[in-house]
Subunit: 353 residues, 2 copies
């Protein structure tokens, strides 16, 4: 038997660190200033400043899509994979989906009143963030399992869609979906304009991300690979079939689970991979190990003014979400992976700026 499973490959340390950060969100909004850097020349990737990161992307796409190039890749093999949290949109101070799970608890309890005075639901309902932060891992799994399974896929889809269309990030008071990085949206389009199939490969829940990926990123559900649970086919009393989301883990799409998930869902090795944390390390290594030109890029969060600063540039410990450890930074440097500095490489971060 597989045990009840997380929607997300978060570890407890990560979650606790994130929860601890939340109270600061009730404070005044940070001031958001446009980058001081000059606009780039040329029409490609307009939200990027000229520099080695932008150049690496353009050089790679040209080299693999020009028939005369020794690195030419036939269109059907052009696969590019993108981590989501911290790579395509903001992951701070907490993964959006974890907020969803916690906010779903009152509805789950309303349907199952017997949970009201049971832990860990009682603690979550109390709203006491410090107490929530002290919940042991097995209790967090209970919350995740209770909020992401036990309903039909249609019910889940409708709930998740409704939530994502209204939930807002406290710092910017913007929809989470508005916090997609404009430079990365341009990269996605640039790849697709050159016949690449773009995939999200996320530690987040596959069903959850599929609810908005087409609208936000232009990526259809079948090109979203994420942490996935099983479903169970059954018939309703009127004979109509339905699928129920089960608390059974099929794919933990983090770390080694990313190349494993890519094999399961795509069946061929990507030519380009974008990530931002140790959870993406194996995906980048797997991409790098293929023959020919391969693009490996890591987003470094080094812009405390316009977004957040965490990771090796700040010498922060790796207990925060999206850990970009010094070891990963060293591996990137050693192997010639390209590190994207949000501060220096991105002229604009969000579309609303």
């Amino acid at each position: 038997m597989i045990r009840a499973a997380p929607c997300h490959g978060i570890d407890r340390r990560t979650l606790l660190a994130s929860l601890a950060l939340l109270p600061s969100l009730s404070g005044p909004l940070f001031s958001v200033s446009a980058s001081a850097q000059a606009p780039t020349s040329g029409g490609l990737l307009p939200s990027w400043n000229d520099g080695p990161a932008k150049q690496a992307i353009i050089d790679f796409v040209r080299a693999t899509s020009d028939r005369a190039s020794p690195s030419y890749v036939v269109p059907e093999d052009r696969i590019a994979v993108f981590d989501q949290d911290g790579t395509l949109w903001v992951e701070h101070p907490m993964y959006t989906q974890v907020i969803y799970c916690l906010e779903r608890v009152p509805d789950v309890v309303a349907k199952k009143p017997e949970l009201k005075n049971k832990e860990p639901f009682k603690t979550v309902l109390s709203g006491n963030r410090e107490a929530i932060a002290r919940l042991p891992m097995q209790d967090l799994y209970k919350i995740i399992a209770a909020t992401l399974s036990g309903m039909s896929v249609e019910e889940f889809n409708a709930e998740a869609k409704k939530w994502i269309e209204t939930a807002r990030h406290p710092r910017w008071n913007r929809l989470y979906t508005e916090l997609a990085y404009q430079p990365m949206l341009e990269v996605l389009r640039y790849f697709r304009d050159n016949a690449y199939k773009t995939y999200i490969v996320t530690g987040g829940g596959q069903d959850f991300v599929r609810m908005y990926a087409e609208k936000v990123y232009g990526i259809p559900p079948e090109q979203v690979i994420g942490t996935a649970g099983g479903t169970k086919f059954a018939y309703a009393s009127d004979g109509k079939p339905y699928l129920t989301k089960e608390p059974k883990l099929l794919l933990n799409d983090n770390n080694a689970g990313k190349p494993e998930g890519i094999h399961l869902m795509i069946g061929r090795r990507p030519y380009a991979a974008f990530g931002n944390s140790t959870g993406d390390r194996q995906m980048l290594e797997w991409t790098a190990a293929g023959a020919g030109a391969r693009l490996k890029m890591l987003v470094l969060h080094d812009d405390a003014v316009r977004e957040y600063a965490y990771g090796p540039a700040q010498g922060l410990p790796d207990t925060r979400v999206g850990a970009f450890t010094p070891a990963l930074y060293d591996e990137a440097k050693k192997n010639g992976w390209t590190v994207i500095s949000m501060k220096n490489d991105w002229r604009r971060i969000f579309a609303f700026e």
Copy 2:
């Protein structure tokens, strides 16, 4: 723990019935005659005779791709799913992949000589078909696990590709890949020409079918959903990462596993589904339960001269491969699913005819 898993959702009865049929294959080739029916008019689906099956396909594609139609479907939602064995190519007298597994045994034993005198490998090596047919299910799983796991995905891919490029069907003395049904190849193209994404949803092994699906059916690996095992990411001594095929079942893509697999891999409901057996029943039901126009089709093997005759038209018991039971036939009739008669609806069966 998940138990060692089959590459294929075959049951023992099916396999035994298939094995029992094999000796007849050493006899003279059947005579293959072209259909006596007249060619159809019009350029669409030229290997189909005019009739309700051909008309149902054309009516459906037109209704869902014409913007003025009340059944119009936006291009990004156009998903069509196809079973493989018995629907896209010949499944008689045995699933091609089972033959592959049995034929791989000598190589597996050569690499692990300790298996030579162990059952069930000893029996398979003996070539005694009656003894092979008597092997208990757990022994068959051992053969399947031993031949489809324990190697890197690259090694498996190379072996499977080499085999499928040379292995021949004894009745026609043709490559298995030449035994794709020409009328169905035309259907696949017709759907794709109208912006449908075509998927294979097979009980066969996902990695196996991916090795030839693009060449034979024009379907890329990421659009092949099949029975799938897990893989394990690791590093070779030179630091290079690789994936090993594990004897661990992730998806048994038969019966209820087909809609479950469709949800996992596509995340939306198909508009058209083609099958030929009880293993496809839930996939057709799941497709049918969606709103708007939905096409549900079953291939009936009723042409003993040009291919095989089995299923309800012949009143055969359902112990043979690809069972199309009388109960499924009744369900199709009751629910308005379209049954394709190979004998009457297909003017030509194979491209080489």
